[in-house]
Symmetry: D2
Subunit: 360 residues, 4 copies
């Protein structure tokens, strides 16, 4: 279904950008697990608009309410409903969008699909839809950490022409959160921030690449054939608004290598654990984790909202000029980091539960 994700750990999200509220129902969380609401709220704070001068100035507190599924701070095993009210919808800002399809937005396609759309904003196509993902993902993160010690860490690898060469091994949450770009390389981050400010000033926008590293996932997670772990992670990332590409391990660059260079030789480490010398596989072989770090990257296009006149058509299919106004996010990539992490967490918790069902 369009608004459901997962099999054993399944979420259902709801809510339009300019409706009353957005939220998520989480079904399948094991019972008797202690949840930190502060952590959920902290993750939402990493996603919310208006965090810094380089993101949109829409002001939303994004305070989450938990309506069900918890009792005295612990999960009941029943659906956990999480709700965030929309406070700063400002529908007046959107009157100019009523009759025009914004280029590279989803206005035209929603209208074609449903015969109707909420023209007062992006509706379900807005990044605001991702609140439910981040809230549910925070629960998954907590559970994965508590049960398996799994850590999921995202960061900005690239903004437009600027790419950091930082090694994944050096990345820490502290370094990622030390600057508004969420790039753990301070020098690169400063340049990226300048580029984003320049784009904002020009009414333009920039894209970039988010990398997510998953540490300590045990071997044996993921499914062969259609639900390979890289396929599930790929779907998860590609379902985030503005994502245009996904790769795992060596990814597209792996094509430039020969098999003799690309194969990850096995060895036994000091603790007797089977490891690989290299990790071009990105921690996944045949769709299943091998115990190495899982490494994936997602490409985000430059935001479609720009403050420039553009050619377009209206609902009557007449050619018109679309004159954008209002708030815009010149580069969504820093805010995409917690969303990518959340999607990875949702996939991994689902796979962990699926593997529990399989083994005695």
């Amino acid at each position: 279904m369009s608004s459901q994700f997962g099999e054993c750990f399944k979420i259902s999200t709801f809510g339009e950008s300019h409706g009353d509220a957005v939220g998520v129902v989480v079904d399948g969380c094991p019972g008797n697990f202690e949840i930190s609401l502060e952590h959920i709220q902290a993750e939402l704070a990493r996603r919310k608009p208006g965090q810094s001068a380089i993101s949109t100035q829409r002001k939303e507190p994004d305070e989450v309410e938990i309506l069900s599924g918890l009792f005295e701070g612990r999960t009941l095993g029943t659906p956990i409903a999480l709700l965030v009210w929309n406070r700063d919808a400002r529908s007046k800002d959107y009157g100019h969008m009523k009759d025009v399809y914004r280029p590279s937005h989803a206005d035209f396609t929603y209208q074609e699909k449903y015969g109707i759309r909420n023209w007062k904003g992006g509706g379900r196509a807005s990044a605001r839809e991702t609140i439910g993902r981040v809230a549910a993902g925070a629960i998954a993160k907590q559970w994965l950490k508590a049960e398996y010690g799994v850590e999921i860490l995202g960061f900005v690898r690239r903004v437009h022409q600027l790419e950091t060469q930082v090694s994944g091994h050096e990345v820490t949450l502290e370094r990622v959160e030390s600057n508004p770009v969420r790039c753990p390389d301070a020098a690169a981050a400063a340049e990226m921030e300048d580029a984003i400010r320049a784009a904002r000033k020009a009414g333009d926008s920039l894209g970039g690449v988010v990398e997510v590293i998953v540490r300590h996932a045990p071997a044996g997670w993921g499914e062969p054939v259609f639900d390979k772990l890289e396929a599930e992670l790929g779907k998860a990332m590609l379902s985030i608004p503005a994502c245009k590409g996904f790769e795992v391990g060596s990814g597209f660059a792996g094509v430039l290598m020969k098999g003799s260079e690309h194969n990850d030789a096995f060895y036994k480490d000091d603790t007797g654990t089977v490891r690989t010398r290299t990790n071009f596989s990105g921690g996944i072989q045949g769709g299943i984790t091998n115990g190495e770090d899982i490494v994936v990257r997602a490409a985000f296009k430059p935001t479609a909202t720009i403050i420039q006149d553009q050619d377009s058509v209206n609902e009557e299919h007449q050619e018109v000029t679309f004159k954008a106004k209002g708030r815009h996010d010149p580069c969504v990539v820093p805010r995409a980091v917690p969303i990518c992490e959340a999607m990875a967490a949702l996939v991994l918790m689902d796979q962990a539960l699926r593997q529990r069902a399989r083994r005695a």
Copy 2:
């Protein structure tokens, strides 16, 4: 589930590379639709091994039997079971694999996941698993063509260092099938073939990129949020063995553009249809088709099977040298073309049926 794909048009595949047979059950195909068995067989022929000097020499006729779901050449609306017997399994070739985990194969991860594996070959991780995909995809292709005029066409965009600059608009099935590499650019194809031959001779392997173009898909297919069309296509491609990356439209290169360059301006064409001047969106906006060509690319790593000694470990987790022998496929990319097409067809037919359920 690991071996099921799709929601309204759903397939279940089965079979190990070195078991008795491989096959697929197709559930959800509308009734009273005439099926061409010749077309299914022809698609399987495009996938099968031993087609040319640059693919593996395993000899399999891959003749498909249809066990159910058809009556007098038409679909009954009931499950269509398709079966291909394994003829040339040659288990004797695989004795050297019994105790060793082949690097960058799925031997180790299957053993970790299931506590058992069929060591006489790749089992479900073998490319032979894709027979069911191609057979089911052929049904989907026929239906999409008959009902909507949709055409799905894949080709090899890159092998290792060699990339063709051919425009998607120039690609025809005839040009794709005119050479064993399945690259519609004859000059590039010749170079690619030389590179593959050289790799074979060196006991090495090469990867590459397959591009798939879908023409004439109507606007309105695909789902917002989690089941965005690009997310479904991404999952589909990333579930193919050896796929390490996926992109739609501008993909990773789109990151190098600014929003003002990347947005696809709408206009009205001579027939009154809403079109876009450019197609960086790859035919999909907000997860839903906009009527332009759908364009996706999938990156395939160099095949893990090479004829060279490699460091590895055995089932007792002792370090050993793996000495490969037998047949190998120095570059799977040409054979991946019909598989990618099939996966695209499965996704699109599923989405077409889902959209039928939605609209009156």
Copy 3:
């Protein structure tokens, strides 16, 4: 999943009886369909407690809020989230339940399943859970009526020893709603009401049978094999708290007939429509509607909550006497009527959409 129902028209419910709220997310409703909120509220009023002297005196306004999925009164095609706050939870009433497993309730089994339970009430096992079903069912009812003229009508066929012999053809909503028992036979209804009052006075409870008739469903809905329409309806009814049995058409009594008596002969009516002379099939043959009225019945056990001392055990598995107190519903059957209707509506709308996907 435990809290999700449906395939093309899918609902996710959430909320404990004594939590903050209960609700439902409806995914898959076609877009651009006008919804009457008054009708949803009216259906909830038929389900809510405290309607009459013969139901529990818990006071809940059960006012529904719609948080998403509507725009200017019409569906957007996106998830519709409906919420009802719990106002009269009165947790103090439940202190006596903290350490004791109530007989024939779900306290013990939830504890065994999840390792935790919300002991302040029935949690998800409470009939309050059905609010989401009724709210979502009201949407389905409206759509089925508007698109196909389908009418879904439930009534009380039996309370304890008392059964009405009314013919299904005579039943109207007006007659059903003319008395608090929801039995369209006024004389039987009066006797049933007396029996329920007597049970209340004795601190005891009664069960009964609800019959649901679906009129004007077209031929061709439902699926063969596992998702037969009677199987889906059976699951739907048996998932309602306290339901112990289900039958379609002739049901258990059909066993007393011979094939020559039970077969429904086909004929052609004045309008040229294929009809059956009798309807022992209950409108369903081979899992698929034949155009006749769909007729099903669901048996509800006497409510487990009674105001009498009972033998039981506590969390430490010691034998104790459970002394019930507080409010209780001596017969849930009248309130089960709108719930059964709602479940039938959910099944039928799902099947209608599934059939749309199948046929051109």
Copy 4:
């Protein structure tokens, strides 16, 4: 989907009665589990036609082939495909059915649903479809027995007017299989057999009731809300051809009791286990097992195939007389016993795996 059943342990069946073969693909079976093919074959023998003078004389060996998913007698964790060829289809027997819709069969409804049908037999509506269920159910039975000691035992409780009063506790497989009726009460069985012979002689048919008892299922299986264990079992049984009713525990008769009579008091047995004094709940409370025997009953109508002239209509919707001929099964109830057991096994194994996913 119509031909798929289960969530974690999922089966896909295929095949028409008069096509080439019928079969099933089982997905989700844990790996490294030893399977007895003899047991699968034995279960199929209990289901097959021609077992005795009181069943249809169609001759089918029903020998099962396993095409995938096993290695050296153990499950690989991958899909297990099981196939049975149709040998005695005798299409010539069915020419009289080409143009006529048989009363109370699925000919008319399939035609309405799909716009086509295989008129050479019952197609997917034939009881032959249940072969896949029984084969897959045999795997589930083996696993449930090996992992949890669960026993699933069905028997004929009633044929037409004749009902045995045998207590479920007395029923053993040996007694059930000691006569062709599968009624563990020898005296009742003899009367039932006479009744069936008389019906056969008259070209008529009889229905009956199958009871299934599940012993040693642990507490905590099943899901609250929509996937309650009784709801899943009800769907499972109601999906069997000719099933018209289902009940659990006290069932429809429970309606005749008061709450004070019906509640199952808890106590602690000698081993310290929580038990109930009575079992009107049928082993399930709030949708979840409580550790007592699970007891369900399914009502089967008299077979629609009778050897008598009947009024009907043809494909042109003209009124005609349908003259039955050929083989017929005067009472399917004895053969329904292994089918009901198989469906119970499929439900329970699925729930067992789902519960594994939930608990640590």
